[in-house]
């Protein structure tokens, strides 16, 4: 058994066809999409009957100093495949990413956690406030420049 991992040019082409000018690059593991098209891509990934990504496993964020990367791990229970979607956010200011809350409600606490610990805001999230740390806490501890 085991699940098929979708990635590479195949998935990239499908995403590009559904949401114009959305794909940035791809490799054997993941597809990078442009930040403004995240919500549109998410909607397509969930609604398309062949891709059928009903389940959002996790949202992670990584600080690469020059840019941030948001990583979405997805699973389809019916089609038995997985995928990894990533997006690069350049700069170190208060970065803003479209929320996928309306597509997967499982993003609720995870997006709040990314905001709290990494300082990336999600536009369209109904309750974008800190989750682990208290309101009034200065900074975002998982950033590499937080000491």
């Amino acid at each position: 058994m085991g699940l098929v991992h979708l990635a590479g040019p195949d998935l990239a082409r499908q995403l590009e066809a559904a949401v114009a000018d959305s794909v940035e690059e791809w490799n054997d593991d993941a597809v990078w999409v442009k930040t403004p098209s995240i919500a549109g891509v998410a909607e397509f990934l969930q609604a398309d009957p062949v891709l059928d990504f009903q389940f959002l496993n996790s949202i992670s964020a990584v600080d690469y100093i020059g840019y941030f990367e948001v990583v979405y791990h997805l699973t389809s229970f019916r089609q038995r495949h997985t995928a990894t979607i990533k997006s690069k956010i350049p700069g170190r200011g208060e970065s803003i990413v479209p929320s996928v809350y309306r597509v997967w409600r499982g993003a609720d606490f995870q997006e709040r956690e990314v905001w709290d610990l990494m300082g990336i805001r999600f536009d369209g999230h109904p309750n974008m406030k800190r989750i682990m740390l208290w309101e009034g806490f200065q900074g975002h501890p998982l950033r590499k420049d937080f000491l």
């Binding site: 699940l3 959002l56 496993n57 990584v62 791990h73 499982g106 606490f109 995870q110 800190r130 740390l133």
Partner: protein, 368 residues
């Protein structure tokens, strides 16, 4: 004539015996009925992900013990699998069996705590919980024989396990399984068709399957809503492809189903443990990997297991150094809490406590 009553907002927790740790709910009541719920977490936040960036790959095993501290073996396993994926390391067969065996014993212990506390929350103060803890205690004793610790085990290492089981471990395990057979039957007889349990939990806090999937719910809570999805079956790791077991599911997704499902899963875990004992063969228990690990720069891995609470995963990113560049923990307890509001609104205060118990969250893992 109807009398209008003012809704009242109450804080349940962070210090409250039924919240199973430092968890707070801000609840608005109309009399006994719940109108609005907001879960507030973070009281046990220790910054595990940040700490992991400062420790080397082997040292992080000790941090994973302190996530879900009633199932630390499974946390060890999830982390070690992620590191092995990062390194491309192969684990010797005996180590795979030892991991599967200890992880299943831990699942039994964790589910015993889960069902024990649901009964406690129903108001059966003490007795059924102690029946559950009696068996759990024996499992912790077995862990002590393996690694000297009962809760914070740190038994597994990237590439295998820390040490082979001592010779007197195997007769002790056989004795435990023999006793557990009768002990668990006793618990089942007491609670499975108990009228009070039925009346109080059936049809309460229903979780429809489509909502569960959309809210990223996993583990027993998802299976109680009707989907037979278990990562041990779907993406077998360690020795799970060598053993036979079923994935129990329920239909209604109410408190009773979540409670009942954990009891069924304990039976399957016992089956797996018995098969491991039969199949395990002598051999090395740890692959020849260096003590200080340095994965390739830019390598990354998403290693997941079916933990007792749901899908537990570690997302590791390496920059070629001795510590991970990023160590993200996908915590099933936190994500399962996404459905709290849906499960509680419209039900009564007394049911709220039971529903929380049926979700079986662990604050060490929610807050990390």
């Amino acid at each position: 004539m109807t009398i209008r009553t003012e809704p009242m907002t109450v804080n349940i927790g962070p210090q409250h015996p039924s919240t199973h740790g430092v968890f707070r709910l801000r609840v608005t009541f109309d009399g006994e009925e719940i109108l609005q719920v907001e879960p507030i977490v973070g009281y046990l936040h220790r910054g595990t992900e940040k700490l992991a960036e400062e420790r080397n790959y082997t040292q992080i095993v000790t941090l994973t013990d302190r996530l879900d501290y009633v199932s630390s073996m499974i946390n060890n396993q999830a982390y070690c699998l992620a590191v092995e994926k990062l390194l491309g390391a192969e684990v010797p067969p005996r180590a795979k069996y030892l991991r599967t065996l200890t992880a299943e014993l831990q699942r039994i212990a964790s589910h015993l705590v889960g069902i024990g506390f649901i009964l406690q929350d129903l108001g059966t103060l003490g007795t059924p919980l102690m029946y559950c803890f009696r068996s759990r205690e024996r499992i912790l004793d077995l862990f002590e024989m393996l690694c000297g610790a009962r809760i914070t085990v740190s038994y597994m290492r990237p590439g295998g396990v820390f040490f082979d089981a001592p010779t007197d471990f195997w007769p002790a395990l056989d004795q435990f399984l023999k006793d557990f057979d009768t002990e668990f039957k006793e618990i089942e007889q007491l609670v499975l068709e108990n009228e009070i349990v039925m009346v109080r939990t059936r049809g309460v806090s229903l979780l429809p399957l489509d909502l569960a999937i959309n809210c990223s719910v996993s583990g027993p809570v998802l299976r109680a809503s009707g989907l037979a999805w278990d990562w041990r079956k779907m993406e077998p790791y360690d020795a799970y492809d060598k053993v036979e077991f079923d994935v129990p599911t329920a239909i209604n997704g109410d408190n009773y189903d979540r409670f009942w499902l954990r009891i069924q899963e304990i039976h399957q875990s016992v089956r797996i443990v018995e098969q491991c004992i039969r199949q395990i063969e002598p051999g090395p228990v740890r692959a020849d990997v260096p003590l200080v690990l340095r994965p390739e720069p830019g390598a990354e891995a998403y290693g997941r297991v079916e933990a007792s609470k749901g899908e537990l995963a570690f997302y590791l990113v390496s920059d070629g150094g001795i510590s991970p560049y990023r160590c993200k923990i996908r915590s099933p307890s936190l994500i399962n809490l996404t459905v709290t509001e849906h499960l509680l609104v419209g039900y009564k205060l007394a049911d709220m406590i039971v529903t929380l118990g049926s979700l079986d969250i662990n604050m060490g893992e929610v807050d990390r």
